[in-house]
Each structure stands twice: as structure tokens, then as C-alpha cells.
Symmetry: C2
Subunit: 334 residues, 2 copies
């Protein structure tokens, strides 16, 4: 495996130069290399990332989440076009740990955001596939760096999966946007309290027609709910607004708030501080995941663990001693 | 260090025989060995635990928690005497990761539960000291096994620390009792929602005198609150009651509920299943903690990590690559 080289790979320098010139085709092919699990591709990917690293970071990274049905694709399409009209170059990525290894989702995404997909200043790339959230997050994070190096100054990272992916997106973005619906049954619509706490802005989407009154009510409710959370370290107080992506109402306001946020955190130093913290945390997340992989990934350890489990249950060995033996076995395996 | 032996240590068999005969003095001295950090004591402790292991497990393990001021000591004293009157032998342990290595707390505890401390059928042992919750929980867990082997058929484990210690206690007990007060300001009195979810029973203490009406109201409120949680795997629906430990009101009812719970979970198999799960989880908790200790406890790794942090912030290296290098360094260190 190690020396197998896919036939159509170019030299690292070709990708690097292409990305720095904003070449979309070479950017896409470099991202494919990042997403690949071949050993030769992994080496190539590292070389590319290392080279573009100093050119990354010059974007505002915006995380967008919301339950299915909230109108996320339409929102991103309309929001993305608004940003392009204002002169920005926008990259749209997503995190979906549950996604299948198929090209279907790309077509799906491009269909979802048809107009945006045909604009030169926008770049849409669906989620990398992978078995673990950590692995998928790594790939999305590195894709983000490449997009930045290619000159995209706004990166939107959408959560597609549910549950933990919001935390992963929050951990790699500067601004976290939560899309909600008015009166969709229970107050928080399956959004966990922890996710509300992450939000820098809550947008109540589909605020049009008969839904306007309900949306205004929901807006007040969310404003009240956000009040009970302690002040964020960023110094920013989360805002709540209503919007209708489909009617293009309230979209420009979202960007205005993000610009206000950016000015605030640039001035008070939080932007840089948080970015540094996120980058460092990225390393620690990888270390902690890899430590567990090292241990639990060993076939011998796995077999011995299941014996230990039985011996613990039948009181042949104490859990503390069993752990000691397993750790010793782990140490001896090197 | 390894061969140093404290002068007044006896042979392992002496402790083992003493514990199995219910000798309180030898039990106490064996627990001291478990709590010791001397290498020779650790070896001795393992021998003792290994020998008593088959005689452990024959108790009902009850976790008790509640914020300071809720009357926990008085409750445990009155509850413990009730159990002794019913013919039980009761061991009272506590988990307090913040406790100092001093004998002061023992005197403190014995004073707190003066009457119970003088009853032969009750055994009070305050928290082991330690730097990590994991370490303290190990020692309390092993102390519990010794108490069971010494014939104590009810073990009460009290949380003294706040925060994570409730989870540790919940992870080593069969029944989780939450003490609350009526009308003490905000609804949940600083008890996190996660802790409410663990409770098999909520007792509103100090329900006497002018406080009775408020306590009944609180009882209804907690009953409503507990309703929104999904059914526990045990099949038990948490109950809420009022009590006044100081006036000995509602105490026998607490034990009646615990006996009802025990009958239910014996019949439906949850008791045994949960015990097995807890014992196995105990091993995994130790393994995961030790994996992190192995990595982050290395001086070289620690120094290199701080260099890596700087290089990440200055975009000299990507977080993913930094993690890879650190993991390789870890592997090479064996």
C-alpha cells in the first residue's frame, strides 16, 4: 500500500501554486488528496498543507447549524449570494460524520445550492466521509485552510450530522449561527441547551407570510432565553433576528451583525486569542483520540480486555488491578 | 522506596482473616493501607483486595448527595441508626477529591455523626485524600469492597465535593439519593440537571414546622420535573418524598422505597447487570486515565508540547501534523 501512487497525482508544487493562484480545479483535486486514506496521498497532503499554512487564516469562519427542515440550504444559498455581491469570495464546507463514501452527496449539495454553485466567487465542497467525527473534522479543518489559501475570505461550515458535530464546528469557527423556526412545537426544537449557549446569533428563518407574528414572538422568547447564559468570553452578546431566506428578508442584517462581531473581537483581542486556542486544541483533540486508538486499536489488547471483563464479573480480579495489567501490556507492546 | 516497609504492618493474611471476621480495627488498618501511596503498601493492598474480592458485593450500595446546608450529616446519622435498628450493618464512606491529607476530617466526621460513630453495627470512614477524582474514587471503591467483605450489608457513599464526584458516586452505587430543600431560592439549588437525572429518589429534607407547606409544594414540583426525564433502564420511576431528619419523620419511608427498588431490580435482572457494567466501567475509567497520565506525565512530552503550541500559533506547523509528531515521540519513548 505504502508505495502505491494513484496515476493522476501531480507534484506537490503544482497543487500548492494552483491553490495560491486560486485555481478551483487544483484546489478541488488537493482536497480530494486530503480526503484520501492512501498512505501516499497522506504524505502528499501533509506537504501541501505545510506549504500553504502561512497563507491560511485570512477569513472569517462561520459555523451554521439548525435542525433539518429549518431551510439551511436555502439560507446558505441566499446568504452566500449576498456575500458574493458584497465582493467576498465564499467557501461552503460541511461536517457530516454520518455521510457515506459516495459522490452522490456532492451532486446533492450542488443541486441544493444550484445558483451559488455556478458563481465563480463561491466554492461548495460537501463533507468528507469518515468513520469518526475526529477524522471528518480534521479533513474539514484542513480543507478550510486550503480554501483560505486559495483566497476565500468567508468560510461557511455547515453541520449536517446531528449531535456532536455542532461542537466540532464551533471549535473551528469564529462565529456560530443557529437557525431556528418559530413555533415548531417545543421551545428548543431538539436543539440542546449546550448548542444555544454556543450561538453568537440566532436567526428565526421562514419569518414570512402568516409566520411573521409567530416569528416575532419566538424572537422575544429566544432573547429572553439567551439572557440567562453567562456573558461569553468574546464580550459579544448573542443577537436574535428573524429572516426569510426564500424571500431574501433579513439576510443582509445577518452579515451586518457578523461584521459588528468581527470589529468587536478584533479590537478586544478575542479573535486572535480564540483562533490560537482553537488551533492548539485541534492538536490536543488529535492526540487524545490517537492515544485511545493506539490502545483500543490493538487486536491483542482487545482480546485481553474481553477476558478481563469476564474475570471482573466473576470476581477473579479487581477492576483496578485489571486496568494495571492492561496498561502494562500496552507499555510492553512497544 | 520500593523496599521500605512501615514498621507496624502485619502479614496480608492477618488483615484478610480479620476483615472476614468483621474485626473493625483490622478493617481500619487495611483501609489505611489502601489509602497509602507507599509502594510496599500498594503491593500489600493488592494482595488483600484480591483475597477478599470473592466475599465482596453483598450489600446494597446507596449514593447520597445534596448541597451544603441540606442536612446531609444529620440525615445519614438518623438514617443509619434506623438501618441498624432494623438489623443491618452499615458502612458510611465519602468521596471528596478536595479533602486535605489530614486526620482532622476523621474527627470532623465522627463528631458530625456522634451517636452513629459509637454503634458497633455502624462503621464510619471519611474520604481518602488524593489529587485526582479518579484516584480518590478508586480508594473509596476498594474501601467499599473491604467493608462488604467485613459484613456490612448497607454501604452509604456520601459526596462531599461538588461537581464530578456525584458522577463517580453514581458509577459505584445501586441507588442514588438526592437530598433537597424546599424553597431555597432557585428551583434546582445549584444541582445540575444531569444530577437530577441520576436520582432514584429525591428527599426534601427539613420538612418540619413552618416548612411543611413549602416542602409539599416542592415535592410536587420535583415530581413534575422528574416526569420529563426518559424512563431509566432500571425500570424504576424515581420517587419524591419529604422528610425531617432532625425530627425523625419520613426516614423509614426512604428505606422502604430502597427495598422496593431492590426487589424490582433483583426481579428484572437490572441489579446484577448494572453491577457488572459498573465493575467493567471501573476498569475502563482507570485505563483511560492512565493513558493520559502516561502521555501528559512525561517531562519530555510536556516540554515539546509547549514548543508545538508556539509553532502552531505561528503557523510553522499544522495541528494535525504536530499531533502526529507528538504521538510518534510517545511511541518512541518506550
Amino acid at each position: 500500500m505504502k508505495n502505491y501512487k494513484p496515476k493522476n497525482r501531480l507534484a506537490a508544487q503544482t497543487y500548492i501554486q494552483g491553490i495560491l493562484k486560486g485555481d478551483r480545479v487544483l484546489l478541488s483535486r488537493a482536497i480530494t488528496i486530503i480526503e484520501s486514506n492512501l498512505e501516499s496521498d497522506k504524505t502528499l497532503a501533509k506537504e501541501i498543507i505545510q506549504a500553504i499554512l502561512p497563507y491560511s487564516g485570512n477569513s472569517i469562519r462561520i459555523g451554521i447549524t439548525g435542525v433539518p427542515g429549518v431551510g439551511k440550504s436555502t439560507f446558505i444559498e441566499v446568504f452566500g449570494k449576498h456575500l458574493v455581491n458584497k465582493g467576498h469570495r465564499v467557501a461552503i464546507l460541511s461536517i457530516d460524520p454520518s455521510s457515506q463514501r459516495s459522490r452522490g452527496s456532492i451532486l446533492g449539495d450542488k443541486t441544493r445550492m444550484e445558483e451559488l454553485a455556478n458563481i465563480d466567487e463561491a466554492y461548495i465542497r460537501p463533507s468528507a466521509s469518515g468513520d469518526t467525527l475526529g477524522g471528518v473534522a480534521n479533513k474539514t479543518g484542513e480543507t478550510m485552510l486550503l480554501c483560505e489559501a486559495a483566497g476565500y475570505d468567508v468560510v461557511l461550515i455547515e453541520t449536517v450530522g446531528v449531535g456532536q458535530s455542532e461542537t466540532a464546528v464551533h471549535g473551528m469557527t469564529d462565529f456560530f449561527l443557529l437557525l431556528m423556526l418559530a413555533g415548531a412545537g417545543d421551545e428548543l426544537q431538539g436543539i440542546k441547551k449546550g448548542i444555544m449557549e454556543m450561538a453568537d446569533m440566532v436567526v428565526i428563518n421562514k419569518a414570512d407570510g402568516d409566520n411573521i407574528t409567530m416569528s416575532k414572538l419566538a424572537k422575544r422568547q429566544y432573547q429572553n432565553a439567551l439572557h440567562i447564559f453567562p456573558q461569553s468570553e468574546s464580550g459579544w452578546s448573542p443577537v436574535v433576528s428573524t429572516a426569510s431566506a426564500i424571500k431574501n428578508i433579513g439576510i443582509s442584517n445577518v452579515w451586518d451583525e457578523i461584521e459588528k462581531f468581527k470589529r468587536l473581537v478584533d479590537e478586544n483581542g478575542y479573535f486572535k486569542k480564540n483562533r490560537n486556542h482553537q488551533q492548539i486544541q485541534w492538536m490536543y483533540n488529535n492526540i487524545n483520540e490517537e492515544l485511545k486508538n493506539l490502545f483500543y486499536g490493538s487486536k491483542n489488547i482487545k482480546e485481553h480486555l474481553s477476558v478481563m471483563e469476564k474475570d471482573i464479573v466473576s470476581a477473579k480480579i479487581s477492576p483496578v488491578k485489571a486496568a494495571e495489567i492492561m496498561i502494562q501490556e500496552f507499555k510492553d507492546s512497544f
